[in-house]
Subunit: 124 residues, 2 copies
């Protein structure tokens, strides 16, 4: 199934986010070999160059590493992964709270609204 992208942001940036998510959530566990660029590109329905660009960025920050010809692997540095996960969680929460605050929601209202929507989608 092709990955889904918003049209308002560069695909390569969205690829980075998605792959980070997959690493943090254990879809791609530490030390695991990733599928080849070409396969990943096809899976995401994206040009290999675009996928390559995203992977290169993730390599820059140490999340992936490459054995020139045998493939690309997720780092075994579980500490780094945990740091990333914490960073993402913090960012998501802060961004969310800021958006809600700007819409005039106080702390209690935010929690209430979340609980309500959680209830609504409980049956999934």
């Amino acid at each position: 199934m092709p990955w889904e992208f918003r049209s308002d942001c560069p695909i390569y940036a969205q690829l980075i986010e998605k792959i980070e998510q997959k690493i943090c959530s254990g879809v791609y566990p530490p030390g695991t070999k990733l599928p080849p660029v070409r396969d990943l590109a096809q899976e995401a329905a994206v040009n290999p160059n675009t996928m390559q660009r995203a992977l290169a960025r993730l390599e820059d920050v140490g999340l992936l590493y490459t054995h020139r010809t045998s493939g690309r692997f997720v780092t075994e540095d579980t500490d780094l992964i945990r740091q990333l996960k914490n960073r993402l969680v913090q960012e998501h929460i802060r961004d969310f709270l800021e958006k809600m605050r700007q819409l005039g929601f106080g702390r209690e209202e935010i929690l209430a609204a979340i609980s309500r929507i959680m209830e609504e989608s409980k049956d999934e």
Copy 2:
């Protein structure tokens, strides 16, 4: 003060979000006259064309309307504004919950994490 933009998304898209926020939160109340395009552009530190593009989109959805030469105004349709606000709230919550879920957070953990971060930034 120039508005702030992320580098990973088109400016015009971010302008749309910001202006929507300002309308929903009452910074630009219903029926109010907006500053001229040129002023808004300067305030945001953006090219007038870019600001114009964002405003045109907001007009497309009925959130703004124009009197050709006297200026641009926020709609007086408070119902439309309320609908937008509800839509934004829902989107923000759903997006947030989805991201957290993908990081392995259950409902309780999400609420706990939010409460914790709320506490941390209580003194602002």
